[in-house]
Point group: C2
Chain length 266, copies 2
C-alpha cells in the first residue's frame, strides 16, 4: 500500500512546467494542511522534472494565503542552469488565489574537502523516549513518530524555546529529499512552548538547505532523525526558528530557518 506521504506529494504533470496537486485530509492542521507536506510536494515536482540537474540544495517557500483542502496548481519556472547547479522559481494557486511562491536550487555533488562541524545534541537511542501524543487538531502529526528529548508541548510556559526530538515518518518510510523537507517543518510553533499554550500561528517563509547527498539519505533509510530547533527572537507578531536535522551517526542532513506569524491568545 502506498504511504500517505507519497500519495499526498504526488503532483501530476499537466504541462511542461505545470503540475496539478491535491491536499490530503491525512495531513490537515488547524487551518491549512501541514506546510511541510506542501513544501515536499514542490520539491518532489522539481526533482521529478526531466530537466532537473542533480539533487535539491536549497528551497525557500513562502505561504501567501491559507491553502484550503482541495486542488492546487503548481507552476515551476526554470531560471538558469549552470555547470553544477540549477535555479528554479515557482508559484502555486488555488483558483485565482496565489497561495505559494518560492525558489529552489538543485545541484550536482562535487568532491571537495568536507566536515560535519555541527555536533548533534546529546541524546540516548530513540527507544529511550516515549512516543509523544499530539492534540487531536494536529491531524498531520499522526503521520510522524515523535520522541522528545527536550521541549515537548506542555501546559507550562518554558524559558527556552528549544525542542530536540527523534522523529520519523509513521509508518516508517525511507528518507529522501521530500521527506527531509517535511521533517524540517515538523517543529510545532516555538511560541507554543514559550507560552505553554496554543494561539494562531503559521509559517510565513521556510528555507531548507540540504547537506545530505542522495547516497547518505539512502543509507539513512527508515531510521529516526535527530531534530533540534530554537527561536532567537519573538515580537511584533513574528518569530524565527533555526533548526538542524541529524542522522543516527551525527551526519548533518539539513539546516532550516523559518519565519512564523503569531497572534497573542485571546
Amino acid at each position: 500500500m502506498q504511504h500517505a506521504f507519497d500519495a499526498t506529494i504526488a503532483a501530476e504533470a499537466v504541462g511542461r512546467y505545470d503540475f496539478a496537486a491535491r491536499t490530503s485530509p491525512a495531513y490537515a492542521n488547524m487551518v491549512s494542511p501541514f506546510g511541510g507536506v506542501t513544501a515536499a510536494t514542490v520539491v518532489a515536482a522539481v526533482q521529478s522534472h526531466p530537466e532537473a540537474l542533480g539533487s535539491p540544495l536549497a528551497l525557500t517557500i513562502n505561504y501567501l494565503a491559507p491553502l484550503e483542502q482541495g486542488d492546487w496548481t503548481l507552476a515551476l519556472r526554470p531560471l538558469r542552469t549552470n555547470r553544477t547547479n540549477q535555479h528554479w522559481s515557482f508559484t502555486a494557486h488555488q483558483g485565482e488565489t496565489a497561495v505559494l511562491s518560492g525558489t529552489a536550487v538543485l545541484g550536482l555533488a562535487r568532491q571537495t574537502w568536507g566536515e560535519n562541524e555541527a555536533k548533534p545534541p546529546a541524546a540516548d537511542a530513540p527507544e529511550a523516549y516515549p512516543v509523544f501524543e499530539f492534540p487531536e487538531f494536529a491531524t498531520w502529526a499522526k503521520n510522524y513518530e515523535s520522541r522528545f528529548i527536550v521541549g515537548a508541548l506542555a501546559a507550562e510556559p518554558a524559558d527556552d524555546s528549544t525542542s530536540t526530538l527523534w522523529i520519523r515518518d509513521n509508518p516508517p518510510r525511507p528518507l529522501d529529499h521530500p521527506a527531509l523537507t517535511a521533517l524540517a517543518d515538523t517543529f510545532f510553533p516555538r511560541v507554543f512552548l514559550r507560552q505553554g499554550s496554543y494561539m494562531p500561528a503559521g509559517t510565513v517563509s521556510l528555507t531548507v538547505y540540504y547537506h545530505a547527498t542522495k547516497d547518505e539519505l539512502a543509507a539513512h533509510g527508515e531510521a529516526h532523525v535527530l531534530a533540534t530547533a530554537r527561536a532567537a527572537r519573538f515580537g511584533h507578531g513574528h518569530f524565527d526558528q533555526y533548526g538542524q536535522l541529524f542522522g543516527q551517526d551525527g551526519t548533518l542532513l539539513a539546516t532550516t530557518h523559518q519565519l512564523v506569524y503569531f497572534k497573542d491568545p485571546k
Copy 2:
C-alpha cells in the same frame, strides 16, 4: 556628500515594477560585486515602492550567475497583499542573462508578546578590538569597519568556523533595512577560516529575517552591530552559514542563513 552605499543601492524606477540599477566599483569583490549590496538594492527598491506595505520581514535572494560590473535591471512582482503582510517576488537580468531571483515579505509591526531569547556573544566595547585590514582584492570590505572578537581571516586553519565581530559602515551611516541586509552578508566565506586560505567561493542563496522594527533601527543609529556567524557542515562543494546580528544593547536585529559554493584550492 552621499554615502557610497546609498549611491550604489539607488535603483531608478523605470516602470511600474521595474528598476534600473548599476554596480559600483567601490563594492567590487573577486568576481562579482559584494552580494550584500546587491541584496540591499533589492530591499531598497521594494521598500521604496508606492504599493509597499510596512517594513521588510524576510528576504531570500539567489545568485544565479556572476554579476558583471555595469548596469542591471530589477523586475519586482507583487504576489499578494494580506491585512498585515505582503509578498513579492523578483528577478534581475544583465542583458539576457538572469542573474538574481528571490522573494521578499513585508509586514506591519503588530503589538504582541515578545522576547529576545538569543543572547549576544560576550564582547567588550568595539574600541577594545583593532580595526581589521582585509586583503586588497576585497575592495568592498573597505566600506566597513570590522573589529573581530574571534574568527578573523588568518593564514592558519581554524577548527571552528565562528566569526564574531563589531561591524558598521565606513564611514558610519545610520542603520536601516538595506544596510542591515548588506551587513548580514559581510561574513567572509567560512571555508576560508577553516582552511586558513582563500579559494573560489560565492553565495548561492541568502535569507535574512528582520527582527528589528524601524524604530529600533532608528534608535541604533550609526553604532556598531555585533555580528556572529558559523557554518554547520562543509562538503560536496557547498557549506551553510547561520548568523545573528545584535544591537549594542543586545537586541537581536536580524538572523540570516546562507548557502555558499566553494572549490578546493588548486
